[in-house]
């Protein structure tokens, strides 16, 4: 059975249903261009990550999604695992990938000597040198473009936005080049870039530092977006994003960096396109991602006490949506509540509502309810800021309303 997450900041056991284990470097040389690796699915099937040409010749895996399995014990393995904070997990993932492949490099403001404004790259510049962990001048559009040019010519850069909001300046490069170059070049150039950074509403950071860019980027064709929420999935998604040949935008959250969790000692890579079952249930499907997961789990405690049985899914993959996990859940509970931190208009929730309506309309007993932040620039005042976001009490009320 999958472990149940207890609440905000709790040390949770890793969710079992989406564990994938990596058989460590099966003879893949560091410098080879094709990123060969094996992923063992929890249903036992094996597939190789291949480049495009090879894939055409290969049979692709037919069952893409792991079923929930009693892997909790196997997931942790024989070793006890180690405890760390989310930003350390990100760093660990990053370091492992940089050790594995010398073409992986980091660029961003203050990532080198300063160690990253949220300490994700602390110590890496000393270990790998100033060129591999590059401190850039304050020129987001240009250094993102530089990352894209480097990716086209064989490197695997990770571009850090000191705050996701700053990447608005890089929108030109992200939309035109990152997303589109593979297509407009007829498949000749791939852009294996990872763009990551902290976003979301923090503690009174003001409107411009509290932006949620996932809604702005979601229409760009050719990119993938993932959001991490626990130390476990942060490390797994970081590694998966780096290994992916697609451009991936990894959304982290300013307030989640200090979450402590015990993660496995063995190497693992998560699946970029899959959602995570946080708490299985019967009455209502609650879809969420990033920080709202914790508001939802807090509300879930209250709901359980009141006799409800919510199923909580952390969608993780913001683009594309994992319609299999979500669909299975909808077919079981017939009620959907989406809780997100994005703004109401044109947010991830809006797209998700449309996708679920299109695909699973017949299975719904009630209209989909979407709780999002207010369409308001995040105010500085603490009280106002609190009211722009979805709070656990609202979630409880919404579930009660849905399950009437």
């Amino acid at each position: 059975m999958a472990a149940i997450v207890q609440g905000i900041g709790a040390t949770a056991a890793p969710s079992a249903s989406s564990n994938k284990f990596l058989l460590s470097s099966l003879g893949s040389s560091l410098l080879e261009k094709k990123r060969n690796f094996f992923v063992v699915r929890s249903d036992g099937k094996c597939y190789t990550g291949l480049n495009q040409q090879q894939r055409r010749a290969q049979n692709v895996v037919t069952n893409a999604v792991a079923t929930k399995e009693e892997k909790a014990s196997a997931a942790v393995g024989s070793k006890p695992g180690h405890e760390l904070l989310l930003f350390e997990a990100l760093r660990e993932g990053l370091e492992e990938e940089m050790d594995r492949d010398p073409c992986v490099c980091v660029m961003g403001e203050d990532v080198g000597h300063y160690g990253g404004s949220y300490k994700v790259t602390k110590g890496l510049a000393e270990k790998y040198g100033d060129l591999r962990v590059l401190d850039t001048p304050i020129a987001e559009n240009s250094f993102t473009g530089m990352g894209i040019g480097a990716a086209m010519t064989g490197l695997r850069p990770i571009v850090e936005g000191m705050n996701m909001g700053f990447l608005l300046l890089a929108f030109n490069q992200i939309s035109n080049n990152c997303g589109m170059l593979h297509y407009t070049s007829g498949g000749q150039f791939k852009i294996p870039i990872v763009i990551r950074g902290p976003g979301g509403v923090g503690r009174q950071l003001g409107a411009e530092h509290s932006q949620r860019l996932e809604s702005y980027f979601q229409s760009i064709p050719g990119i993938q977006m993932v959001a991490c929420s626990t130390a476990y999935n942060a490390k797994g998604l970081m590694k998966a994003a780096i290994r992916s040949d697609n451009p991936v935008i990894l959304f982290e959250h300013v307030l989640l960096y200090n979450l402590k969790e015990r993660i496995p000692d063995e190497e693992y890579v998560l699946n970029l396109e899959e959602a995570e079952m946080v708490r299985p249930g019967e009455h209502v499907t609650i879809l969420t991602y990033s920080r709202m997961r914790y508001h939802v789990m807090q509300a879930a405690k209250t709901l359980v006490n009141k006799g409800y049985d919510p199923e909580v899914i952390d969608i993780r993959s913001l683009k594309p949506f994992d319609l299999y996990t979500i669909g299975n859940s909808v077919k079981k509970t017939h009620r959907v509540l989406i809780v997100e931190e994005c703004m109401r208009t044109g947010g991830i929730g809006a797209s998700l509502t449309a996708a679920i309506n299109e695909n699973f309309h017949d299975h719904l007993d009630a209209p989909i309810v979407c709780l999002s932040s207010q369409d308001v620039p995040t105010p500085y005042a603490g009280t106002l800021e609190e009211w722009t976001l979805v709070q656990p009490a609202q979630i409880v009320a919404a579930v009660e309303q849905l399950c009437l």
């Binding site: 495009q52 894939r55 037919t62 069952n63 473009g145 010519t153 297509y183 319609l323 669909g327």
Partner: protein, 445 residues
């Protein structure tokens, strides 16, 4: 409107007042600046080409290390002196016979191809925005013919001739323009997005300035390979081509800074044809001398006559050599001109016919031809043979493009992602890319 006429006097006046050059050096511009009323023609340029050996010019070249003195100025020593018209010597021409023919062939290819593009456009074989390079061939040929296959070129939407010079077959470029599946980008890029992995042409960009960071990234990779991956012989150079309009864009300045900061092996080539669609360079730029902006960032800035392929080539040799040796970037401003409008949709009414005529008389192809005859580097027959060969090549390219198939529907969803799992998992639990409709191009993604 004779926009150039009224501003000419204004400009030259301010120029002499603002000169920041050290007094002992004669100013580069006075007689040869395009805005002066005395036009500089190819052979009549007062800039003299010196035939001094590289070593002496090396000693004259400034070699300041990072702590730059404020006196780093545009590199006049990089500009060679040319023998004056009255004294054309038959000894020591700048190029050999083979080189001359290669340059001539490349420029004629560029010209014929672009002329054919115009024809094909008006016959409805290609659509959209097509930007032709007529008149600027000297810049493309002068620079790109000095590169190796592994060196990278980044261009703008005016990229057909850069692609041809870099080695992309004319057939592939023409097919791409016709939108056929045999095009260099499978018909998915079009006129403004020419790419070639084989020839290291990194695009083809529709927005101005957005290619410059990509070029900076390619140069970064070259440096990374040498210093981190320890590939000691990696000395790949990147050339970034862009226009005068781009030089007012933030990405230009940001990349000049980064390239100079990290001494990236890149050459920034400004094709200053004085016009950004209908916006005259003088009306858009506070200080129109673009080469001056190089030293502001700590790299040499050079101005060269972009209608003269030999001058461009000499400057290019220096700049590319600098980059290859790891000495860092160079900013080269090529004064050039496009004989046609901005694109095939541009009525081109703003430019003064006198200005056009002046530059037409400096046609780089005729100029090279003349040079080769005068220096006995080629005969009329040889050049005619090349003309004929190119005509046939371009005709063949059109035929090939005509006969090539249009992309099938199945091509629609390919190449969106390098890893098509990026389309996600569908409701049935399988990856969308496994859906048979996906390969047919009709799948819902």
């Amino acid at each position: 409107m004779a926009a150039t006429a009224f501003s000419a006097s204004k400009f030259t006046q301010s120029f002499s007042l603002n000169s920041t050059r050290s007094v002992d050096r004669p100013p580069l511009f006075p007689a040869s600046h395009p805005l002066k009323t005395t036009p500089s023609s190819f052979l009549g340029s007062t800039r003299k080409l010196s035939l001094s050996s590289p070593s002496s010019s090396t000693s004259r070249r400034r070699r300041r290390r990072p702590s730059r003195s404020p006196a780093v100025v545009a590199v006049s020593e990089v500009v060679k002196e040319k023998k004056s018209k009255s004294n054309v010597s038959l000894s020591n021409p700048l190029i050999t016979n083979e080189e001359g023919l290669e340059l001539y062939e490349d420029m004629v290819l560029g010209r014929s191809f672009e002329d054919m593009c115009a024809q094909m456009y008006y016959r409805g074989k290609m659509f959209g925005f097509v930007h032709l390079y007529n008149g600027q061939e000297a810049v493309s040929t002068g620079f790109i013919k000095l590169l190796k296959q592994e060196d990278c070129v980044v261009s703008t939407y005016r990229d057909h001739v850069h692609a041809l010079s870099k080695g992309v077959p004319a057939r592939a470029v023409m097919s791409e323009l016709f939108g056929k599946t045999t095009g260099c980008c499978r018909g998915q890029g079009g006129s403004m997005h020419m790419f070639s992995k084989e020839h290291n042409l990194l695009g083809g960009f529709a927005f101005i300035g957005e290619g410059i960071p990509v070029a900076t990234g390619a140069a970064f990779t070259s440096k990374y390979r040498r210093e981190v991956l320890k590939e000691a012989d990696c000395d790949h150079v990147t050339l970034a081509f862009f226009g005068d309009g781009t030089c007012n864009n933030g990405q230009f300045f940001e990349c000049l800074n980064m390239a100079a900061l990290w001494k990236l092996p890149i050459v920034f080539v400004v094709e200053n044809n004085l016009w950004a669609i209908g916006m005259s360079h003088l009306r858009a730029t506070s200080d129109p001398e673009i080469w001056k902006k190089g030293p502001a960032f700590g790299m040499p800035g050079v101005h060269v006559d972009g209608m003269d392929v030999l001058k461009v080539r000499e400057v290019a040799k220096e700049a590319i050599g600098r980059a290859r040796r790891g000495e860092g970037p160079t900013l080269v401003e090529c004064e050039t001109y496009r004989f046609r409008g901005h694109s095939l949709a541009d009525p081109d009414e703003l430019r003064d016919p006198a200005e056009k005529a002046r530059y037409a008389s400096r046609d780089p192809i005729s100029a090279l031809k003349k040079y080769m005859f005068e220096n006995n580097l080629a005969s009329e027959a040889e050049l005619k043979a090349i003309d004929k060969k190119i005509d046939e090549l371009v005709e063949d390219a059109v035929e090939f493009a005509d006969e090539s198939p249009l992309p099938a529907r199945s091509q629609l969803l390919e190449n969106v992602f390098a890893d098509p799992r990026g389309f996600g998992i569908g409701p049935d639990g399988r990856y969308r890319c496994e859906d048979p409709k996906f390969t047919e191009g009709t799948a819902q993604v």
